[in-house]
Symmetry: C2
């Protein structure tokens, strides 16, 4: 038995045939063209699914779909996904069933990255772990007893919106000092630009002062790799703040394995090492035992694998 | 079938016969006399249990014991409970069985307050809720699907040690800006004294400037009740900070019912109302639906009831 996983983003719809052991068998990616509206996007999702169904050599159990935004407790509907205008409340499972004849379930994309990691990635050895996705925003998923922890209504693990400073920086969150305000890609870049502006002698100033909006976290890690101390310090500061947020997660949940994925996570040890050190300094002693921060070994595929797994295990 | 619940504190050992519907049938309280050492305290616990067992009119299923500090995952052992010198690692369940012939389980006292609340108190209507205990320290328990959530090793819900300000105040925690540093009884009193010192015209200054160490949260709520605006402002500030911590819990767990118990909670609306307002301002909109902060209706008995329930449901 196999399934179809879909990762619905504002730019691309990624989809794949997913096998419970082999993982991705075949994948199809099409542009979302969100601007053309809901109907158009639904039809594009459905034709990607139908294309995969037609080439499947095994029977397809159903479809799992990862979407940004809030998901209903029954995993059938999506509410206000960011970057998808016109999607106020979409009964996505029903719309897909009507267009493909396949049963479908929807889940938050960060939760599905956690599930993908649990079955195929860095989370595999652990029954309990926390997935942090460091991208445009900061997302999270919590795995408890090998399953996605959903909370009372299905909205658990908004881990980017945990404040580490109640009078701290604002971001596109209702929460001042939310960790997303320090680690989200845009905020990290902006904070870095503010620092670099103070150091006209630094190579990063020379490279980006013409247009700081072009500075990306990747530029910081590349500069850090070349020994640029300012870049190292900027990433270290962001990493330590991530560590402070992680202390809050660990003291709440008693889950001591943290898996980090996403673009910003590619800064690797420049962020994760100071995060680990800051957390170890501040965790209560019993929580330091077995505490670990690991990068996700799967790259883009984690969410797709999680989406396929959702269908395989829950339909 | 009934059980025996024990609430082991640094000052008193409280114990009671617990009936699953009627709650406390008969209780016995004896001083802990922790200074006399481990053996003495174990014997005192055991004789309280034996006394209750002898008067029980129904068969006793076993003993549930609430203790401060870390508890082993199998609920048999206690590690380093504060206020009990010499208790580095005690196999409490075995020690009690040897002295009483009854099977026993141990659990963290804040977790048992949550369980007691879930079966007999304010938590009764909810399958998911968070218990906050505002006393000398700030403790917590998390109820998920009507059971204590224990995390990966049994140490979950150290909710007093969640930082709301990474460069904030120190307390007897490894975490600067931990919510305990603002709401823990001693810290709240000390912060209040610092404020009152700036206002020699205030009645609280007149009453306590001779010895600010005598100022207790109760004095603040009594003054607030009499219309003392400074007292109101101090409690409001503490309440708002509690609200910020609650936002972190809610965004992590998607649990929207918060039950608050303990001495400081008796300041009631002076703390809980600003906590609610601050949380509602900062919660992401979907989490505001059904969000509620409630005082615990059980007083001292919550932990005892939880301890008895633990034995009834798990032995």
């Amino acid at each position: 038995m196999i399934s179809i996983g879909v990762d619905l983003g504002g730019t691309n719809i990624k989809s794949a045939l997913i096998h419970p052991e082999k993982g991705v068998i075949k994948n199809v990616s099409v542009p979302t063209e969100a601007g053309k509206g809901l109907e158009s996007t639904l039809n594009r999702i459905a034709s990607a699914i139908n294309e995969l169904k037609d080439v499947a050599e095994d029977s397809v159990k159903g479809v799992g779909i990862g979407a940004p935004g809030m998901i209903s407790l029954d995993r059938k509907s999506v509410y206000n996904p960011p970057n998808l205008p016109g999607w106020d409340h979409v009964e996505l499972a029903r719309e897909i069933h009507e267009r493909t004849g396949l049963n479908a379930l929807v889940e938050n994309d960060a939760n599905l990255m956690a599930l993908g990691s649990a079955r195929f990635g860095s989370g595999r050895p652990f029954d309990y772990f926390i997935m942090l996705t460091l991208g445009t925003g900061v997302g999270g998923g919590i795995i408890i007893e090998n399953k996605i922890f959903r909370g009372a209504t299905g909205a658990a693990a908004e881990l980017g919106h945990i404040s580490i400073d109640y009078h701290g920086a604002e971001c596109n969150s209702t929460v001042p000092g939310a960790i997303e305000a320090y680690l989200g890609q845009r905020f990290l870049s902006r904070n870095a630009a503010n620092e670099i502006e103070k150091h006209p002698e630094n190579q990063l100033y020379k490279d980006f002062s013409g247009d700081f909006s072009k500075l990306e976290p990747r530029d910081l890690s590349e500069a850090a790799n070349r020994g640029n101390k300012l870049a190292v310090a900027i990433l270290e500061d962001a990493g330590r703040k991530l560590g402070y947020a992680i202390v809050n997660y660990v003291h709440t949940l008693d889950i001591r394995k943290i898996v980090v994925s996403g673009g910003v996570a590619n800064a690797g040890d420049f962020i994760l090492k100071p995060a680990y050190q800051a957390a170890m300094e501040r965790l209560m002693p019993p929580f330091r035992t077995d505490f670990e921060i690991l990068p996700e070994i799967l790259s883009q595929e984690a969410a797709l694998l999680g989406a396929g797994t959702l269908a395989l295990e829950n339909l």
